[in-house]
């Protein structure tokens, strides 16, 4: 019964996204970006379950985005580039993960941040290859060999982002319910106990780390193919901070939190920018402050509390 309810909720949310994108054409782009960021934030949520915060996940997002940018010049096929870029990001994640999972808390966060800033500098300094901060413009990509007109391409990207979001949300749910996912929570409470049970905390964290980088890679790929222009700013530390911001905004209680947070974040940003071009940062900051002060569980927690109260009444 509960499961049926959840499936219904997911389908409703997906339908809502599509309806909004259909009635308000310019929001289609914003929603695609939001879902792409939501994917990366889902990875942050996974690490949050283990009590670790990564301030450097924009590295994987940017890596995949640049992989797409370079790949699209050779084989402009979405369905080929996307998995390649995501797997590339996951491999990089595995390599980096082998080192960073030895550290916890602030050291984990700072090491991730440092590595993402190294990547930022590489993108900026290898000027003849990456065009520095001007970035690279992507040629249009085909979809299963079909050349789509811009309108259909926009829809295709939104549907792709939606599908990936649902797929990974389900995957992360299953993962979190599995023994290894439970062990993740064990890292947060007391890692020593986990080790006494014969489970390696590092391996558990590594698996979550690689999964999170895979999702960040997917997010980066969708982002690059939607904006069709990549710049090193994608891997700057503020971009990583933004992901953590969204995770807090959405709440880490559920896999729906990141997507809820990402959509709320992007919509707040565009509406704030439209209403007060001068002071939109202040609006965004005020929203985050309010969420931290009055809804520590994020938007998802807020929604749950509302539903719970109504049930009680």
């Amino acid at each position: 019964m509960r499961r049926a309810g959840e499936v219904l909720l997911v389908l409703l949310a997906a339908a809502l996204v599509l309806v909004v994108a259909w009635t308000v054409p310019w929001l289609r782009f914003v929603l695609t970006i939001a879902l792409a960021k939501g994917l990366a934030v889902l990875g942050i949520l996974l690490l949050l379950r283990a009590g670790q915060v990564s301030f450097g996940h924009a590295l994987y997002l940017a890596f995949a985005a640049y992989a797409i940018a370079f790949g699209a010049a050779r084989v402009p096929e979405t369905l080929l580039l996307l998995p390649l870029a995501a797997i590339g990001a996951a491999l990089l994640g595995l390599l980096v993960g082998l080192f960073v999972v030895r550290y916890r808390e602030i050291f984990f966060g700072m090491l991730n941040l440092a590595l993402s800033m190294v990547f930022y500098s590489l993108l900026e300094k290898f000027y003849s290859i990456t065009h520095g901060t001007d970035g690279i413009r992507l040629p249009p990509t085909t979809f299963a060999g079909q050349v789509l007109d811009p309108e259909t391409q926009g829809w295709a990207m939104l549907c792709l982002a939606l599908l990936l979001s649902i797929l990974f949300a389900v995957l992360v749910r299953i993962y979190l319910a599995s023994p290894i996912g439970q062990a993740l929570a064990g890292i947060k409470t007391r890692e020593a106990r986990l080790e006494f049970m014969g489970i390696s905390g590092r391996r558990v964290l590594l698996s979550a780390y690689v999964l999170s980088t895979l999702m960040a890679g997917c997010g980066g790929a969708v982002l690059a193919m939607t904006t069709r222009h990549v710049t090193p700013a994608l891997s700057y530390w503020t971009a990583s901070g933004e992901l953590v911001f969204i995770a807090i905004l959405g709440g880490s209680g559920s896999v729906a939190g990141p997507f809820l947070g990402a959509v709320a974040y992007e919509l707040t940003r565009v509406y704030a920018a439209a209403l007060v071009a001068d002071a939109w940062q202040m609006v965004l900051g005020a929203v985050l402050l309010l969420v931290i002060l009055f809804a520590p569980g994020g938007l998802w927690g807020m929604g749950r509390a509302l539903v719970g109260r109504r049930r009680q009444a």
Binding site: W26, E124, G135, T227, A233, W280
Partner: protein
């Protein structure tokens, strides 16, 4: 469900929320209204909406905010004079500060939700590179009002994007030519540029040109301090030790202010001649910390004391009005904004004349910009067949006078645009290599500052 009884506090709260929600929905609704589609048949609109992308936050707001101020003033002036073809104009500003992906979203919003008729974009080269294909996709005329990169029209062809100003190549080449004439026997040069695309690109242009026009100059140092750096002591120490004849820096904004002040404190200006192609925008802030005798430029022929403007009254009126309203001298982004506004007006008028007074469609308006010649505050600009604007360049030498609390230009040379702009269909780096040293003999005569 809560009861509908108005006496019930929960019910009242629910009523409040509903009212608030309705209010919110109404506000959001006003933003959600779908924008107008690309016109096939054009009707005269109630007003001409112009989306303007500029920096309202971040370091580049030193250009973005004066640009916005100039736009506000000029749009008011157009409306006071009865608008364009009897239609009022309204600017809608968006902030480029958050980066390219946000800007691309904003561009779509302006076109698809606000239904703007025309866009002025942008200061950032990355934003210009990202929005030019989008302009073709959404079929909305876009004027590139301030960005510097020469890549846009050299790498691609666009139907809906036009540049109402020059690009990095003429801006940097004219500074090089000026240096070659003012100080023909310099033997070594050092560069201190910000470490990002513009800093790298501009040095590439300068070096390529220098190697063609004066081979054998020793490059003493290539320093690229971090973008947004506040401390230049290591760079200055090295330059003091290396003693290059010339120091080039295309740095701008707060970075340039800091570099000038610190170089001045440590007397670096006494040892080397500085070439600062963007210094005009910093003059009022640094004041006389910038000594006399150094080469300064303004990204075009933008100078409130231009030696021979096309319309002296226009320039003087603009400068006075701007100073009265915003308490600062107009710097080059103000001139660039004025060029975009004048181009818009001239473009509409040309398109309407071609239609015997009928209102032009988006495509007809875009078509009018190709080959358009429109006035600037100091001379005139012509948009070439590839969409690139031909804009003259002014370079001068800093000069101290009691009349102004900051340095002014003397020995000003106004370079004709055709002389310093890459011809249609050629890439800047290739063209610069073909330059011959005798180009320096053909330069216009410098004009001294007249008090």
């Amino acid at each position: 469900m809560t009861s509908e009884n108005p006496g019930n506090p929960a019910g009242r709260a629910a009523g409040l929320i509903t009212r608030r929600a309705t209010l919110g929905a109404a506000m959001a609704g006003s933003l959600l209204l779908p924008g107008r589609q690309t016109q096939a048949q054009a009707a005269k609109p109630a007003e001409i909406k112009v989306g303007i992308a500029t920096y309202l936050s971040g370091p580049a707001s030193v250009f973005g905010v004066p640009g916005r101020q100039a736009a506000e003033m000029l749009f008011d002036e157009i409306n006071e004079a009865g608008g364009i073809g009897g239609v009022r104009v309204r600017p809608i500003f968006v902030d480029e500060g958050p980066g390219v992906d946000h800007f691309v979203g904003e561009y779509r919003r302006l076109v698809q939700s606000e239904g703007v008729h025309l866009l002025f974009a942008a200061i950032s080269s990355a934003d210009c590179l990202a929005c030019t294909p989008l302009a073709d996709e959404l079929k909305r005329p876009t004027l590139l009002w301030d960005c510097g990169t020469q890549r846009i029209f050299e790498d691609n062809r666009f139907e809906y994007s036009f540049r109402t100003q020059a690009n990095a190549t003429p801006e940097i080449l004219s500074a090089l030519l000026y240096l070659l004439r003012a100080k023909p026997d310099f033997r070594s040069i050092a560069v201190v540029n910000q470490d990002y695309a513009w800093g790298r690109d501009s040095w590439e242009i300068f070096r390529t040109g220098m190697q063609a026009l004066k081979p054998g100059v020793r490059i003493a140092a290539e320093l690229f301090p971090r973008f947004g750096a506040t401390d230049y002591s290591t760079e200055i120490t090295r330059l003091l030790a290396l003693r290059p004849d010339v120091v080039l820096s295309t740095t701008w904004g707060g970075d340039l202010d800091a570099f000038i002040r610190q170089s001045s404190d440590r007397r670096l200006f006494e040892r080397s001649t500085f070439v600062l192609p963007l210094a005009e925008s910093s003059l009022e802030r640094v004041g006389k910390a910038l000594p006399a005798g150094h080469i300064i430029g303004a990204r075009g022929d933008h100078w409130f004391l231009h030696p021979n403007p096309r319309d002296q009254a226009l320039l003087a009126r603009f400068t006075d009005n701007f100073r009265k309203r915003f308490n600062a001298y107009p710097i080059y982004p103000c001139h660039h904004m004025a060029q975009a506004v004048f181009a818009m007006k001239a473009g509409y008028e040309k398109a309407m004349a071609a239609k015997n007074g009928g209102w032009p469609t988006d495509a007809e308006l875009a078509g009018a910009f190709r080959g358009l010649e429109f006035p600037s505050l100091t001379s005139s600009v012509r948009i070439r067949e590839d969409g690139q604007g031909l804009e003259n360049q002014i370079i001068g030498t800093s000069h101290h006078t009691d009349k102004y609390p900051f340095p002014v230009m003397t020995d000003m040379v106004v370079f004709p645009a055709e002389m310093v702009t890459t011809p249609v269909g050629q890439k800047s780096t290739d063209w610069l290599k073909t330059l011959k040293p005798d180009i320096v003999q053909g330069l216009p005569q410098p004009v001294a500052y007249r008090p």
